[in-house]
Every structure is written in C-alpha cells, then in structure tokens.
C-alpha cells in the first residue's frame, strides 16, 4: 500500500467521511480494514469523551478505537466481542482500530497480558454507555421512555410495535455523541473510563464466550496483510544501521568514499549513530556492508560466558526488594525437621522475532510521522518526539503489524533510528534491521540465579520458605519507549543508560506459614549501547522465576517421597488453584507416585511426566508435561502437554486455545534450546543457527487444553501466563524420566549428556 501524505485524523473526520474506509473482503465473514489518512489535522483523542472510543456510521456499523494492539493472538476480536455485546450488535458490524496515536487513546499498547483485563474493560464500559445514549436518543425521537425500549442487532424498538423502530445509523449515523465520560485521569494500562451505564451481567452474554474467528488470518494466508515492512511512501529511501563489531566500540573514522560506487548511497553519522540510506533497499544493504569504518577497541565488557552465573553471584547488589514477608522464616527454619536448599540458573534470552524490526519515518519541518511495529505505539511516538526535540502532539505514530514482538524487542530502536535517518536526509526513510539486529542487538530477557530454601516438618510439610533471585534487572531499558535513554540510538549519541531496577518473585497460593520472597539486581554489564541490555521478553522474568520455584517444589516432593501433585495440593487451599491443579492432573491421567520411582533403565528413550503450577495477575495455570529423553543423544522431546487454565470469564475460547498453544511451544523452545551466547566483547548468537529455537520436527504431539470458565470472575490475562510453568514442567518430567535434576536452562542434549550417564 502506498500511503498518501500522512496527517492527523480524528473521529470527527471519520464521522464526516473525510477519511476513506478501505475494506478488503477476504474469506467469507472476515474483514480487513485500513483507514487511509484524511486531510485535516486535529488534536489527539482524549479519554474523557465517548467519541474518542466509539463511532456510529450511517449504516449503523460501529468502529471502536482501541489504544492497545494485537500482535496475532486475536485480541482485536475479543474486544470486538465485548463491544458488540454491550451494544447488542452483531460482532461482524464492529470494527476495531488499534494503536494509531491520532485516533486512539494511549491504553498502554500490548503490555502484561492486560489487553482484555484492562484495555477491554474500558471498551466494554464505553460501549455500554454508547448503547445507553443511543437508546436515550431513540426514546426522545420516538416519544417513548428509554426503559421501555429494547435493542436487537443495532435496532432500537418498542416491543410489539412495528413502527417505533430506529437503527443506530438512523439515530446517530456519522454524528458525534458529544458525551463526557468519567475518566480516572490515567493513561496507559491503568486508564479507566466509564459512563453512567452499567455493563451487562455475564448471564446475559450472547457474543462474549463465543468462538468468533480471527479477522487477520485470511489476509495473511493470501499475502494481502500489510506489515510495517510493506509501508511505502513517495520519495522514500531505504536505511540500514551499522552496529559496532564489538560491544562499546565507537566509530573513530568513516570513509564515505567506500560507498561512492553505490547509486544514491549516503552516510548518516553522529557520534556513535551510524547508518546509510539509498533509494534501493539492496543498495542500502550493500552500502552498510561496504562502508569502511575505523572502530575504537574498548575493554571487553562481558564476563566469560561460562562464568556468567558466578559473576551474578559475586556482583554488588544495586537494589534489593523484599516483595513478601510472613511470619519468621529463620526461626521456623531453625526449628524445622529438615532444611533443603537449591539454586537455579537462567540465561539471557532473545526476542528473536521472525523478522528484524522495521520502521518508516517521515520527518518534516515541525512534525513527523512514524509507522512502527512497536507494541507500544503511543510510547514509541513519545520517544521519537523526544529524540527529535518535538512536542509529542507533533508526531503521529501509526502502528502497523510488525514481524513478531513478544515484548520490548528491536522495534523500539527501529522507530527512533528511522526518525533520525529521515531527519538527517530530509526524506522519508524505511529502516529494517538485518538478522543480527533481531538476535544480537535486541534488548534481552535477563540472566539470573535463584536461591531457594525450605524447612520441612516431620510430616513433610513446608513450614518455612525463602526465595531469593539475583540477576540483571528486567528493565535496563524501560519497556516503554518514551525516553531516548532507553534506546540504542540515544546511547550511541551520548545519552547514558539510566537503568531501571526490577525483577519479581513467584506468584502462587501455597499456604506456607513462614515465607520471605525477595529479589536483587546487579549492575548492567555495559553502561550504554549494550547488546546484553535487558528489557521485557514475553512474560517478563516469569519463566525463570517459576522454573526455579516449581522445580524446587518438585525437589521437595521427591525428597519427602511424595507424589508431585499430592504434595502441591497438600499446600494449597485456594479453591480456584486447587481446581486448576486437579483438572490438569485428571486430564493427564496422572498416576499418583513419587517422581523418578518408575524409571525404565534400558529403553532407547526414558519417559517421564512432571507438573508445574503458577499464577499470573489473576490467571491460574497448571501444566503437565510428558517427555521422552533419548538415552544416546540426550535430546528431549516434550511429547505431550496438558494445560489447565483459569483466567476468569472467557471472551473467546478458540482464540484462548491458540494463544495457549503458542505459549506452550515458545515456552518449550526457551526451556530446551534458547540461550544468548556471548564472548567478552560481543554477542555471538547472531542468527537462527547460533540461536536455535524449537524446530517443527520437535513439535509436541498434543497440547491438551482444559479451559475453566468462570463467568462470575472478571477476565484476567491469557497472552502470557501459560508460558511461565513450561520450563519447570519439562524439567520435572526430565527428573521423573532420568532421576537427574536439571537446575539450569536450556536443557540441551549437551547438558543432559553431561549429567546423565
């Protein structure tokens, strides 16, 4: 798609028809909608106006404006269902516009699995208010008290009266509501807006809870989906960045004549920010490869990879935070019949998105437009504005689906890089990274060490529990992209890293009478432009923390000769948690026996099963994994999973199942294969060969999902929770199969061969 000169478009323009609604019909019933930019420039929508959220068109169809984005888990459909439900409108008649800063309020982008839990709830509120206002207006027009009116597929009518009927289009089509909302004054995830209307009760739901199909699928399989990589502008140049060959190196001299032979190639160089542009993409790539640069040779900043965990143990503590403290842990430990202790280790991991990030920027005098695949487009807009020295309202951020995301990946850097290149050359610039920028230069999930101690009484019950993590902060780089000091370009131009401090502790509901849970962060390994800088990677720090916590519970069960399910249930009383653990065990056909008690010492493979259970922000998940470990090679096949999942009210069971499947597979990949390798001066995981992920030939045979629907409980997140128990479930199954306890991820054949004879 070629975009016309971009401009700011408000709901009012949409209502007036100033913007063009382009609808591409894919498979029957599936719509893909692109709203081309209209001419007028207007201020961005504000959260306290109903018109910022809902527009009613002449045909009675509705557009909902959603300040988050969907990266492929079907969130837009769930939101459409919630809006359609409250409006009593067929779900196919609700379009959802996402992530455009000129047309949506900042609801925080994709963040923490809050799409439905937080973002969707405000959309539900405003849709309920829109229905209330529409019925009120219809009542005035027809001279009927609104409480006597009903709505059916967007037609307001008086029951039993064939004449007193008005469609939403007739009531309001293409006109604004002009109604104020109650807004809590917050932007981002915590934004709440609502009107006077009370949303429906769950027992009234018709659309919520139904398996409505995704809307983006047909466009994708027919090659008609537009990605951020496909955005083209008149006069656009292609850009490539040149990353330092060694971490911390800065360009000392650049010989521009080295790219003179390439048609139209130009250099952009400011401090450490070094890029090239050319009219043709291949020419930009060649220029980036051919550019002769003399680099500084800084002291290698990283430890030897084999000593990473010792480095973490020895490093000074930047911040210690006790997240939970109950009773007297040390006194209870001293009085315990038995104390057990273990440490677990988790490596740096990469987003390794399917394509390196891309952004297109058009920086003009006094303003800019940036097309970004960032999952937080409003914050990405703020970051671009800050680095250009423009007020945020002068920058229009347009979210277009990127090549994978899973947190603060390289997309956040691409938007700022593209903007700086465009500003330097005075033309629109499309920047895409090369493969090593997706692997070696994305912000990483942090490496960590987890130390756990427990005191057990005579009956094998946990009386005292101490969990401490020590690692790199989860947020050297804030997962928001609104400040240049959180960007690679900012660092390369001289802004120091301003590391934020954060980690986390296990989320579960075990009834330990005494417990202490704390985390400690250590200094970043390099203070700027580090290829090992850290930020959010899907279920930030969840997989590592729960790998440790749930492996340890398994160790305690084994140490007391207990069955792993029975041991967990012995320490659980919260009814939803008990139900989830029991549901997983039951569906899996779990045999009650201590783990590693029924090992086959002779077959080509050793088989075992393990369980792990977690919470995440209101969602409860238990996973049973069944594995086969190859005796010869040490290779693990995670053959079968059973997942029991309770996220409160289910909006769309099909979408939920597919999101869970993706988490199980990505979680398996991270447990079995993934670690970022590095030398003291550079990251050496630069592509798929040096950063392997789960191959299709290693796909689990089955992922059996038990959805526990609780309509009476508010919906919580589902985008990430089922990721966090996977590594522990697999590790526990490997223990059952082999009798060997793995306390370090990934569970590669090499690691298993080294400890399992």
């Amino acid at each position: 798609m070629v975009h016309s000169q971009p401009s700011q478009v408000s709901r009012r323009d949409v209502l007036k028809g100033a913007a063009t609604l382009v609808v591409t019909l894919g498979m029957a019933g599936e719509l893909s909608v692109a709203l081309a930019a209209g001419p007028a420039a207007r201020p961005a929508p504000t959260a306290d106006q109903l018109d910022s959220w809902i527009a009613v068109h002449a045909d009675g169809n509705v557009t909902a404006f959603f300040g988050k984005i969907d990266g492929g888990q079907g969130l837009d459909v769930a939101v459409a269902q919630m809006v359609a439900e409250e409006l009593d409108l067929a779900v196919a008649r609700v379009q959802v516009v996402m992530g455009d800063t000129a047309r949506t309020v900042n609801q925080g982008g994709a963040s923490g699995s809050t799409g439905v839990q937080k973002g969707g709830v405000t959309l539900r509120n405003v849709a309920a208010e829109a229905r209330r206002v529409l019925v009120e207006l219809a009542g005035l027009r027809m001279g009927v008290p609104p409480e006597q009116l009903t709505v059916s597929d967007g037609v307001v009518g008086l029951p039993g009266d064939a004449v007193k009927r008005l469609s939403y289009g007739q009531i309001l089509g293409n006109h604004p509501f002009d109604r104020q909302l109650d807004w809590n004054g917050k932007l981002g995830n915590d934004l709440v807006a609502k009107g006077k209307a009370v949303p429906k009760r769950p027992d009234q739901y018709q659309v919520v809870g139904q398996p409505v199909p995704r809307r983006d699928v047909a466009a994708k399989v027919f090659a008609r989906a537009e990605y951020v990589t496909d955005v083209k502008l008149p006069g656009m140049l292609h850009g490539r960045m040149i990353r330092p060959p060694a971490a911390g190196a800065m360009p000392q001299a650049v010989d521009e004549s080295s790219i003179r032979a390439i048609k139209g190639a130009r250099l952009v160089w400011k401090n450490g920010f070094l890029g090239v542009v050319a009219p043709r993409e291949w020419d930009a790539i060649r220029a980036a490869q051919m550019l002769a640069v003399t680099w500084s040779t800084p002291q290698p900043p990283f430890p030897d990879q084999p000593s990473l965990y010792d480095h973490i143990r020895r490093a000074p503590v930047v911040k210690r935070q006790v997240e939970a403290e109950k009773g007297n842990v040390e006194a209870a430990m001293a009085g315990a019949a038995r104390v057990i202790e273990a440490e677990y280790e988790w490596p740096f991991q990469s987003h390794a998105s399917m394509g390196p990030a891309c952004a297109v920027a058009d920086v003009r005098e006094g303003g800019a437009t940036v097309w970004t695949g960032s999952q937080k487009p409003h914050y990405a807009r703020d970051g671009v504005a800050a680095i250009l020295g423009l007020p945020p309202e002068k920058v229009h951020g347009i979210w277009v689906l990127g090549p994978g995301s899973y947190g603060r990946n390289d997309a956040g850097d691409a938007a700022i890089d593209a903007a700086l290149l465009s500003q330097a050359v005075g033309r629109p610039v499309r920047l895409q990274g090369m493969r090593h920028e997706g692997h070696a230069w994305d912000p990483k999930g942090p490496a960590s060490v987890h130390r756990i101690r427990a005191g057990l009484d005579q009956q094998g019950k946990i009386v005292s529990y101490r969990f401490e993590s020590k690692g790199l902060s989860r947020i050297d780089i804030n997962s928001h992209e609104s400040h240049p000091s959180d960007s690679l370009a900012g660092h390369l131009m001289g802004l120091p890293l301003q590391p934020h401090q954060g980690f986390g502790v296990p989320q579960e509901a075990y009834d330990f009478p005494n417990r202490l849970m704390a985390w400690e962060t250590i200094p970043p390994l390099l203070d700027r432009a580090s290829p090992l800088r850290t930020s959010h990677l899907r279920d930030p720090v969840g997989p590592q923390i729960h790998f440790a916590a749930e492996s340890f519970i398994d160790e305690l069960a084994a140490a007391t000769g207990s069955d792993a399910v029975e041991f967990r249930l012995r320490h659980l009383s919260a009814p939803r948690d008990v139900a989830v653990v029991k549901a997983a065990a039951e569906r899996a056909g779990w045999q009650t026996r201590p783990s590693a008690s029924r090992r086959d010492e002779h077959g080509e493979t050793a088989a075992g099963r393990g369980i792990a259970y977690v919470r995440r922000s209101g969602t409860i998940v238990a996973v049973v994994a069944e594995v086969e470990v190859d005796r010869q090679s040490g290779k693990v096949w995670a053959k079968r999973f059973v997942v029991a999942h309770d996220c409160g009210l289910i909006i769309n069971p099909d979408g939920l199942r597919l999101a869970i499947e993706g988490n199980i597979v990505q979680g398996t990949s991270r447990a079995l294969w993934e670690q970022v390798n590095f030398q003291p001066d550079r990251v050496t995981s630069v592509d798929w060969d040096t950063y392997p992920i789960l191959d299709i030939s290693e796909t689990p045979q089955t992922v059996d999902i038990v959805l526990i629907n609780r309509p009476e409980i508010a919906p919580s997140g589902a985008g990430e929770p089922s990721m966090r128990p996977v590594a522990a479930a697999i590790g526990n199954a490997i223990f059952d199969a082999t009798g060997v306890r793995l306390r370090r991820v990934p569970f590669t054949p090499q690691q298993i061969k080294a400890v399992w004879a």
């Binding site: 027919f222 291949w282 390196p356 592509d687 299709i696 796909t699």
Partner: protein
C-alpha cells in the same frame, strides 16, 4: 552496470533494471516490483519467510540471485491462490486459524505446497521432515501441522 532482467511472476512478466545481478530475488520482488510478499526474515536461507516457487520448486528468495530467476516461472504466496480460487493449503491455514503474527507464513505454505505436489499424502513424519528448518517464532507449530495434515488427508 545496469542490466535489464525480465521476471515472470504470478503469471505476469516484468522488466526491471538491476545494477547487481547478484542481488537476491527477494529485493527484485519487494523493492522493484513493489510486492508485499515474500518477507525478509534472515537473508541467510535459515528461516523461510522469503520462500517462493521457481518452476514449482520452493526456494529461498533471500539467497537466490535475481539473475538465476530470469527464465523461471516465479510463484509467490499471492499467486499460489486467491480468496476466489484458494490453494487448499490457504483454505486449511485459514480454517485452522494458523498465523499469529503471520510473518513466517510464506515459508510454511509455499514449502508445504511444493511438498504436497511431490508427495500428495505424506505421513506426519514426512511432513515434519519436509518442513524442518523453517522458523515460526510465535509457536504456531501445532496449528501448522493440523492445517497441512488436513490437506494431506484429502483425497
């Protein structure tokens, strides 16, 4: 030196001028012809996001020189089938709701289409072997296999 190369893509012929005959076919398709498919994933032939057919054979356009494609019949995902006349794999991938981000989808559908042409009813092991090496980061592996098996089991 600029060279004129004629490419036959999805049933249409296009003449393009290229400075470097070693330029990968991917850039001719995306940049010179303006196609939104295939996708750049790695540029190293490791992931498959750039897969097209050359005379029915699945190749990685990121590591195939444009000059090697000049006499071939090039088929992209857009040319494999349309909503009006879908390839059975496109129908199956849509029905199984396979893609999440979907950026990898070229690789799976185009490689599987070539596989099914050679072996119309592959076993699950043959499907996995035939697709091994392709990448999907969202983890839609199970849905991919369901969709391909759905077509492989059709008469």
């Amino acid at each position: 030196m600029t060279e004129r190369i004629v490419l036959h893509v999805d049933g249409k012929s296009h003449a393009i001028a290229v400075d470097d005959p070693e330029m990968p076919l991917l850039y001719a398709l995306r940049d010179h012809l303006g196609l939104a498919n295939p996708h750049f994933g790695c540029g190293l032939g490791q992931c498959g996001a750039c897969t097209v057919h050359l005379d029915g054979v699945a190749v990685r356009s990121c590591s195939t020189p444009v000059s090697a494609a000049r006499h071939a019949r090039i088929t992209t995902l857009a040319g494999l089938g349309t909503p009006e006349h879908p390839h059975p794999l496109q129908t199956a991938f849509a029905e199984e709701q396979v893609p999440q981000c979907g950026y990898c989808i070229n690789g799976w559908i185009m490689t599987a289409a070539a596989l099914l042409k050679e072996t119309p009813h592959p076993s699950e092991a043959e499907i996995k072997e035939g697709l091994s090496g392709l990448k999907c980061r969202c983890g839609t592996h199970l849905a991919i296999l369901r969709a391909i098996k759905r077509v492989a089991q059709q008469a």
